[in-house]
Amino acid sequence: MILGSINPAVLLAALMVAATPILLAAIGELVVEKSGVLNLGVEGMMIMGACVGFIVAVNTGSPFIGFVGAALGGMALSLLFALLTQALMTNQVASGLALTLFGLGLTALLGQRYVGITPPRTPKLDLGLLSDIPFLGRALFTHDIVVYLTIALVGAVWWFLKYSRAGMILRAVGENHDAAHALGYHVKRVRVLAIMFGGACAGLGGAYLSLIRVPQWTEGMTVGAGWIALALVVFASWRPWRAMAGAYLFGGVVVLQLNLQAAGVRIPVEYLSMSPYLITILVLVIISSGKGRSLNAPGSLNKPFHASS
């Protein structure tokens, strides 16, 4: 029995690692969409983070500085999107696509001399006794710090959106920008900040791929992770904890699929490796076919705002 050769604790551990990059990108995009902006450039910002993070980490020898660079790289690209959509009032869908196409090209250029290099290792967090717990220790407490910080970030975003004053303003801007404007909130300022946060998160997610999960730099290495993160936000109905559940579910599919490949199942690798995309589509269908308004999309999502007076 092939499935017998798969150790569930190792599987669970690998699942958390596989889920982390898309969870990071998704939680950032969730905040962006909550402010009423649809940024389809997640894939572009992710690959930017993967590339910049890798270059910085290799040159400084520090994965930590690499992650900082990745966040800044993703943020820089997102500022371009903010400039286009918020100041120059361009179509958000087209601008997001442009961001992705541009990001893929730019990183292929930037990363050219870094193909085939191994980045500095990110140490695993030493959790002492915790990681000695049978089964759970192996599955939950043997990771690098980014995995735990990502979970903390999900919690922080949840708290921010639900309980903080700034979070409520952000939601107001996203639900009805005209009303928020009339109340005196700075719609554009809020949105630009949200877009920057989304860019930084996507950049971190990309760097997690190139510095920890793979770890290597190859052209176009995100292979759709950014798009899956976008789908995840819809799946989560714009709720942070559900985004995390979705990311872990997705991570499970990826890891299971990889394990089946390794176990030598008699299905060609190409068919197994399309399963994450197919499952994402399937989940999107199930969520969006739900009756009525349960979708919970922010009211002003993808609508341009221009103060007329």
Binding site: L83, M89, F102, L106, I281, S289
Partner: protein, 361 residues
Amino acid sequence: MIRLEKRKEPSKLWRIANPFLAVALTMLAGGIMFAMLGKDPFVAIRLIFFDPIFSETFASYSRPQLLIKSAPLILIAVGLAIGFKANVWNIGAEGQYIMGALFGAGVALAFFPAPGWYIFPLMVLAGAFGGFLWAMIPAILKTRFNTNEILVSLLLVYVAERILAAMALGLMRNPDQPGFPGSRDLRRYEAAYNSELIANTGMHWGVVAAIIAVIFAYVMMTRHMLGFHIQLAGQAPRAARFGGVSPARLVIICLGISGALAGLAGMFEVSGPGGQVRIEFASGYGFTAIIVAFLGRLHPIGIVLAGLLLGLTYIGGELSQMMLQLPGAAIQVFQGMLLFFLLALDFQTNYRIRLTQGAHA
């Protein structure tokens, strides 16, 4: 104080001027980028935009390439533009392109080595059908389950790429050369070969199809009721619904047309310039066509010009790779910048910059 004021009507002048301005700005920014890469910017720009057509040394090779590279771009972009006008965002043309190629090549490989005049027309039908079928997945999911067509059509690109790899390594692999991935070379199978119609021009059936598609799209968008409905649905969805335009029908039509055209493009490529089903067959035409559609202002004639220009950048990119050792990715950056500049400039179409005195908000 600088203030943006919305124009009552989009400016016609800027609409037409902006693509040209965007190209000029891209050349400028691209020149700076080339200089940063340590290459002479003037030589590089000339090599990309001028030499493929006019240089005596290169033109004999690259002039025919212009039609070969531009035809698929135009064919795909014409279809995409129809959808974009109606706010139906098919961004998975790359996947439909791959499926069209696989369906077309599948027919050819099934008939191999039989001769017959009917084989090529059957491949054309199969190619269009393959792209159509692949586009129907997001279309039906959108109309039945209200699933976002942007995400589904894009995710299906990755699925199509995996199917392509599986076919090149498995079902469609050339049985006479089992050591190599990839199918039989269709250029060596006369009944299936999409050959040059006029020697040394690059003119093949795909170019003919692109011309027909442009005329067809032009007539449909300007003279036919369907074209009117599409424009109406894009600009005033509520009014369109009151006017009896079915949104679901439009989604099916827009995705169907663009899918079929992308499939055709893939089929003409695999049976001609591409030659065989290979893992690296997909070359990003489906994504570049999005830029072509926007640069051409979603108008069939504009798309022809934009398609020729971006086709030129492909050839010029190869040329500069060869002559200046410029990285291949530079041309991708170039194309991305073009779209950015165009989008950025377009604010002038819809808004007017006013300098006002004082800070009365």
